[in-house]
């Protein structure tokens, strides 16, 4: 298959997402009083309503309605005041009533959008944007100083209930093929679920990934879900089709399922773009089908071909009266909106004069944003930039690898101390990394580590001058070569000086002094 860069020259990917998010922060299920609890013994959180027993009736969970209205307000949606629940019929044992209660043409939240800020490095994945000047717009995209902003439409967010969990026994890896029997756990049945559907406005795997990340940040900020992709409390399906550059007719789409990480979303879409391009370039046809991303084999596999559209026999649920939201209710919910990621980015930029890039990447993860803010409670404003660097370049990756920033030996106070040592040139940036590792390892203050390891950076010009003179005297041939034009040897001299100071010489000063001596 062709590489993505090649494919993107000829083809434009058109991507839309369907995101399901379980409202795990609620106490009870969508239509009954059963407790929401992950991991309880099978079928212990059930009642006549969520088991679909004869005669049971649903009663909507008001807290769930509040959550979806929060989600709608935070994603710039119009809140529909008059909506209805619908029944969506399908026979399968995981849905006890054999219909799912969901919403019809009008959902609680309609016509929203999110703005995605894409970094410069991904700019070529968006056709025609690199050529724009900052501030110029093209389609739904605006060029910025450090990349571009894409406005992604949200069609709707509707409320529905989750199904139970089927466990197939006797087959390989729990698959239904070859299974001798199946078990159903209805603990999850009736879990309040919101489904967000985007417009087909996304054009690259990176945009899709960013959308999911941003949405997750927002839902976490709203505290409506734990948004765990691993546990499936937030899941995304991707709809993707290709069209030739310069044409605007949509191609046949495939639906990508089984995405349980941001990486899977990105890699699955990327694979699917390349696969579709190959099929189309060979004169083949894309079938409308559901494909499954196999992360271990790094490819997508057909799950199901849609020959005819499913007929869900949707109609308004007569057990649930039309749902009316009052202006007072909506305003009460609006008043509960916390600071959202976009607002936080803006505040970080304004309060601490951070660049858009730094602010955005700090806010990208709630833990790093919180850690930064905790640091800035005591730190001098001048330290904001170096702190942002430390967090974005070092700590974010560690946090991704499992470091719990809220409980690690690197307290905000220690981080401030470390950045202070760096900013005052007391230690070099290389030493900084060693100190960081030692803080995490030995649970000591940075200053103490520097003291114990004798790591102080030598910035005494007198002491450094003696070292430099010795290095130059020891390498007359290289000095001659430098003066003959091989200026690249400066790095060699710096290295020798650093070695002579056992790494403690201030490299910035050494650089300056060497240049002076060699050029002077």
């Amino acid at each position: 298959m062709k590489k993505i860069e090649e494919v993107l020259k000829d083809w434009e990917p058109v991507i839309g997402l369907e995101v399901h998010c379980e409202l795990t922060k609620l106490e009870t299920k969508m239509f009954c009083g059963c407790k929401l609890e992950f991991g309880a013994a099978p079928n212990t959180h059930t009642c006549p309503v969520c088991l679909g027993l004869p005669g049971a009736l649903p009663v909507p969970n008001k807290a769930a309605i509040e959550s979806i209205v929060l989600a709608g307000l935070a994603t710039n949606c119009d809140i529909e005041k008059h909506t209805m629940f619908y029944r969506k019929g399908y026979m399968y044992p995981d849905m006890a009533k054999n219909f799912q209660t969901t919403q019809g043409p009008k959902a609680f939240c309609m016509r929203g959008h999110l703005d995605l800020d894409v970094d410069e490095k991904n700019i070529n994945e968006r056709y025609g944007v690199a050529e724009l000047a900052p501030g110029e717009t093209f389609e739904n995209v605006t060029r910025t100083e450090d990349g571009y902003t894409a406005k992604v439409g949200i069609t709707r967010i509707h409320m529905e209930e989750d199904a139970g969990k089927m466990i197939h026994v006797g087959g390989a890896e729990g698959r239904i093929e070859g299974a001798t029997h199946s078990l159903v756990d209805y603990n999850r049945a009736g879990t309040p679920l919101i489904e967000l559907v985007t417009e087909p406005d996304l054009r690259s795997p990176e945009e899709a990934r960013l959308f999911m990340e941003k949405l997750r940040q927002i839902f976490l900020a709203l505290n409506i879900s734990d948004c765990s992709m691993e546990e499936g409390s937030i899941r995304a399906d991707g709809n993707i089709s290709l069209r030739r550059r310069g044409t605007d007719q949509l191609g046949t789409k495939t639906e990508l399922k089984n995405i349980n990480s941001f990486k899977s979303l990105h890699d699955g879409l990327l694979y699917e773009i390349c696969r579709q391009a190959e099929v189309l370039e060979e004169g083949g046809v894309i079938y409308q089908e559901t494909r499954h991303w196999d992360a271990s084999k790094k490819r997508t596999i057909v799950m199901r071909t849609k020959e005819t559209a499913d007929d869900y026999r949707m109609f308004p649920d007569p057990d649930l009266a039309p749902y009316d939201l009052s202006d007072e209710f909506i305003e009460r919910v609006r008043a509960k909106l916390p600071e959202l990621p976009d607002q936080k980015v803006k505040r970080f930029q304004e309060t601490w004069s951070l660049s858009a890039y730094d602010a955005r990447h700090l806010v990208e993860h709630r833990v790093t944003a919180n850690f930064f803010e905790a640091c800035m409670e005591t730190a001098d404003a001048k330290l904001a930039k170096p702190l942002a660097n430390l967090i974005i370049n070092d700590l974010a990756a560690m946090a991704n690898d499992g470091l719990d920033l809220s409980a690690s030996p690197l307290s905000p106070a220690r981080a401030v101390e470390l950045v202070g040592l760096l900013a005052s040139d007391a230690i070099s940036s290389k030493q900084g990394k060693q100190v960081l590792a030692a803080v995490l390892d030995e649970d000591k203050d940075p200053a103490q580590i520097v003291e114990e390891k004798g790591m102080k950076q030598v910035s005494d010009t007198g002491a450094l001058e003696a070292v430099i003179d010795k290095v130059l005297a020891d390498n007359p041939d290289k000095v001659a070569a430098y003066k003959g034009g091989k200026t690249g040897l400066l790095g060699f001299f710096v290295g020798q000086c650093m070695k002579a100071t056992r790494g403690q010489g201030n490299p910035k000063l050494i650089n300056q002094m060497l240049a002076q001596k060699l050029n002077g």
């Binding site: 004869p54 005669g55 009736l57 019929g89 009533k97 559209a309 026999r313």
Partner: protein
């Protein structure tokens, strides 16, 4: 004493005066069911343990001097339609599909009756899943009309009507989706009330047409029916279509009809198929009401003829969806040995449901399918709005409407077998479910030709159920209180 033939007031005063105990009431009622129900077949399940336990509870309260604290149904023998859940009993909806299903919970209306002191005697026969007007579609045999056992008791709540008519219970509960309380009430000569949609909780009553279903009482007097309504009505947090009704339905029952405006609907009285004996009976009732001081006026319900068409779109759609849960997987009938889930579904549903249930499921499945839905479901909802507006307009001039319940009195078993003809007999009752109003049947004597009971239907504006109860009480005054059917009036069951 034959307690099943007594009214609530008589039972109450006897208990208060300690002439008999609640246990005696329960024992004798159970003995009477033994003696009578072999002929009538109203009961699908009798619950002696539950009845006796509740009786002992009532007796203990009386012994403790707490009689006044007992609810309005204290010591009253009561039975429930088979689509109402009562924990520990079968809720089969008279279907093979649920033949072995035992309820783990109790419906709100049943619980409220029991909390009000009712002695639960058991579960009553019905048309399968309430689909029918004769109780002939029950999977467990037909119920006989106590007035003439060669005739149907009506339906779908045929068992509920017959049990009261045969004196096996003082009060029974039924459900009404298109006339299933009022029509058997008329056929069996008892008082039968379908309150306004939302007056009684539907929680725990197996749904047929969720937007149409309503629970109501059968009794032999308007006052008893009103007492039962007092016990079972009101807001239930488990049914979000239930309303906060706090009316005392017995208030003003004896106020008379002087000054009331009562409507007669030409579309009903001139409809083809209305038998002359029923027409005469209703005209006679109108005359009696006029004599008692009511003003009888004609009101138009121009869209009411479309009610049957709209109903047979809306009701099957809702029924199809409501019955989809009966899939053989978690409970209910399962045809074993199938290799695929689809095979098990198909065979279990084909064998578990009777022909009328299958017909309505298929009809609903078709009506909701893509491309068809827009052609039928939307127009049906529009007709629903028009009919509701027709009634609202009528109630601008009248307090209550007088109408037939059914075009004829109880007919012989097997007499109507064509479904469309059967559906057409619902003309007078169905539009009330479509509009959500209250409606009831009260006996107005025997038909001049058939010598079978005729019920007059009284229809009240939504949440003004008191209007129809008051008119019904006046008619009861004029025609005499409903009797136990003659063939069973003198049956003695010992004790």
């Amino acid at each position: 004493m034959e307690f099943g033939t007594m009214d609530i007031a008589a039972i109450r005063s006897g208990l208060a005066a300690k002439e008999f105990s609640a246990r005696e009431v329960a024992e004798q009622s159970l003995a009477r069911i033994d003696a009578v129900d072999g002929t009538v077949n109203a009961f699908l399940e009798v619950t002696p343990e539950a009845a006796l336990a509740k009786a002992d509870e009532v007796d203990a309260a009386i012994a403790a001097g707490a009689f006044d604290e007992l609810g309005p149904l204290a010591g009253v023998p009561v039975a429930f339609k088979d689509n109402m859940n009562l924990a520990g009993t079968h809720t089969a909806c008279a279907s093979h599909m649920l033949e072995n299903y035992v309820s783990p919970y109790t419906a709100t209306c049943v619980q409220r009756a029991i909390d009000a002191g009712a002695l639960p005697l058991g579960k009553l026969n019905m048309d399968e899943f309430a689909f029918g007007s004769t109780t002939e579609s029950s999977a467990f045999g037909t119920t006989k009309n106590p007035w003439d056992t060669s005739r149907v008791p009506g339906g779908s709540s045929g068992g509920s009507a017959a049990a009261v008519a045969a004196g096996m219970a003082t009060v029974t509960l039924g459900s009404d989706t298109g006339g299933s309380i009022r029509q058997p009430g008329s056929f069996c000569g008892v008082v039968a009330v379908k309150p306004t949609y939302g007056v009684v909780s539907r929680y725990g009553v197996v749904a047929f047409g969720s937007s149409l279903d309503q629970v109501g009482p059968f009794a032999r007097s308007v006052h008893d029916a009103a007492l039962a309504l007092n016990a079972i009505s009101g807001r239930d947090e488990r049914d979000c279509t239930s309303q906060d009704v706090t009316i005392d339905f017995t208030r003003g029952l004896d106020a008379g009809v002087s000054g009331m405006k009562i409507g007669i609907v030409p579309e009903f009285m001139d409809a083809a198929g209305l038998t002359s004996e029923v027409k005469h009976a209703i005209e006679g009732a109108a005359e009696k009401l006029r004599e008692m001081g009511a003003e009888i006026v004609e009101v138009e319900l121009p869209h009411v003829r479309a009610a049957i068409s709209a109903y047979y779109v809306i009701a099957p759609c809702e029924a199809f969806s409501n019955l989809s849960r009966f899939d053989s997987v978690r409970y209910g009938f399962c045809d074993p040995g199938h290799k695929s889930l689809a095979g098990q579904y198909e065979a279990s549903r084909a064998k578990g449901f009777g022909p009328e249930a299958r017909r309505r499921i298929m009809l609903g499945s078709y009506l909701l399918s893509a491309g068809v839905y827009d052609k039928y479901y939307y127009p049906a909802q529009q007709v629903r709005t028009l009919i509701t507006q027709d009634y609202e307009r009528a109630y601008e001039t009248v307090d209550c409407i007088l109408a037939p319940v059914a075009p004829q009195t109880a007919f012989a078993f097997g007499q109507i077998s064509d479904p469309a003809t059967m559906y057409a007999t619902d003309l007078y009752t169905i539009s009330i479910n479509i509009a959500g109003n209250g409606g009831m049947s009260v006996p107005v004597g025997l038909g001049e030709d058939s010598q079978m009971p005729v019920g007059a239907q009284l229809i009240a504006p939504a949440f003004h159920d008191m209007n129809m109860l008051r008119v019904a009480a006046a008619l009861e005054e004029a025609y005499g209180t409903a009797r136990v059917a003659p063939d069973f009036a003198d049956v003695k069951a010992g004790a």
